[in-house]
């Protein structure tokens, strides 16, 4: 239900934006379609590989280890491990989500997966190396990393509170 609603909402937004682009001129509209198509084709194989992988990976992840390290009783140690794992997981859009979803299926605690995704989003080392360091001053990156360090813990804590 909520998914259908969401898809409908997306459809309406795309329609509205497309209309605005169309009004600004045919070339702009065509460029939008072409950009969207090339992005879609770029994403398709990545998503396919990632989604297929997360199913098999979830099956293979050692259940006892996942439970012991990231399960409901793993506490702050689990959050710390999830945070470190998040920072070490390579950037690029698929890996962290694929691994996180696999861990969730294999019994990891919801709060720890939230911490993991938060850490991976904010702190993945690999994205810092490839994208952030070449384009931003080191001082700004340092500040960003320092203030981001507590966030996975905050996210996990809030998740436990709400649940």
């Amino acid at each position: 239900m909520i998914i259908a609603f969401f898809t409908a909402l997306l459809f309406l937004i795309a329609l509205a934006l497309g209309t605005v682009a169309w009004r600004r001129g045919r070339p702009l509209f065509d460029k939008g379609l072409a950009d969207a198509r090339s992005q879609f084709l770029h994403l398709l194989p990545r998503l396919l590989i990632g989604i297929l992988g997360s199913g098999f990976l979830a099956h293979l992840l050692p259940r006892e280890t996942v439970l012991a390290w990231f399960g409901p009783n793993s506490g702050w140690t689990g959050t710390l491990l999830a945070t470190i794992a998040g920072a070490l997981t390579p950037g690029g859009p698929v890996v962290g989500y694929a691994l996180g979803a696999a861990a969730l299926k294999a019994g990891a605690d919801f709060a720890q997966v939230i911490a993991y995704v938060t850490a991976w989003s904010l702190l993945t080392l690999n994205r810092m190396l490839t994208w952030e360091m070449p384009s931003m001053p080191m001082g700004l990156i340092t500040v960003r990393v320092i203030v981001s360090l507590p966030l996975p813990f905050l996210a996990a804590w809030l998740t436990m509170l709400v649940r």
Binding site: I2, F6, T7, L10, I13, A14, L28, K31, G32, L33, D35, A36, S38, Q39, F40, H42, L43, L47, L48, I49, G50, I51, L52, G53, S54, G55, F56, L57, H59, L60, P90, G91, G92, P93, V94, V95, Y97, A98, L99, G100, A101, I114, S121, L122, N126, T130, E132, P134, S135, M136, P137, L140, V143, I146, V147, S148, L151, L154, A155, T159
Partner: protein
């Protein structure tokens, strides 16, 4: 987050040009698929494959719509507009605007980080720049629709979104703490390039 071929101004080192994320996912995926096939036989293998294929098929419309929305927003919203709004922002509203724009702006990492630097050059402080980047990283809508939902489903993503929504502002506030002034100085009106060193 479209990791499309970057509009490179200068050639990047070879290790930056390889899509490491994809390479690692591919190794993990094919490796685990092969392992399951060999160890557990074709029945279970096929069952997992069908489940995954169904999931993949069911998210395709959303991915396609996400791509369309991203492409049109990129074309319709001029970069100058973002610079104007975030660049002048100050105080808490400045952080909120920076976070909101980071959340809504569909772009790849090759745009976001340079744009944050431009924002600082046009007057944004480090708090706004960090709120902007963090919002894109944590609650980027385009990225969530295209990438996160397929793996985690709508409930998880909505929950994480609500939880994370205030965080870019919090990060921006923390970044404004005077202790960080030496690391990332607040830009003066005329840009001082030596600060960026």
């Amino acid at each position: 987050m479209p990791e499309a071929p970057a509009p490179t101004q200068e050639p990047r080192p070879w290790y930056a040009r390889i899509d490491w994320g994809l390479a690692i996912v591919a190794i993990l995926s094919f490796g685990s698929a092969g392992y399951v096939l060999v160890k557990e036989g074709p029945t279970l293998w096929l069952q997992i494959l069908m489940e995954d294929a169904w999931l993949f098929a069911s998210i395709l419309p959303k991915v396609a719509l996400g791509c369309l929305i991203g492409a049109f927003v990129r074309l319709l919203i001029a970069r100058e507009m973002i610079e104007r709004y975030v660049g002048r922002g100050s105080g808490l509203p400045g952080l909120a605007i920076a976070g909101l724009i980071g959340m809504l702006f569909p772009a790849g990492p090759f745009t976001i980080f340079p744009l944050a630097v431009v924002l600082m050059a046009s007057g944004a402080d480090r708090g706004a720049a960090i709120a902007f980047i963090s919002a894109w990283l944590l609650v980027g809508i385009n990225r969530a629709i295209i990438w996160e939902m397929p793996f985690f489903g709508t409930d998880f993503v909505l929950f994480r979104f609500l939880l994370s929504m205030p965080m870019p502002i919090l990060l921006g506030l923390m970044a404004r703490a005077p202790v960080f002034e030496r690391l990332a100085p607040t830009p003066k009106a005329p840009e001082r390039p030596e600060d960026a060193a």
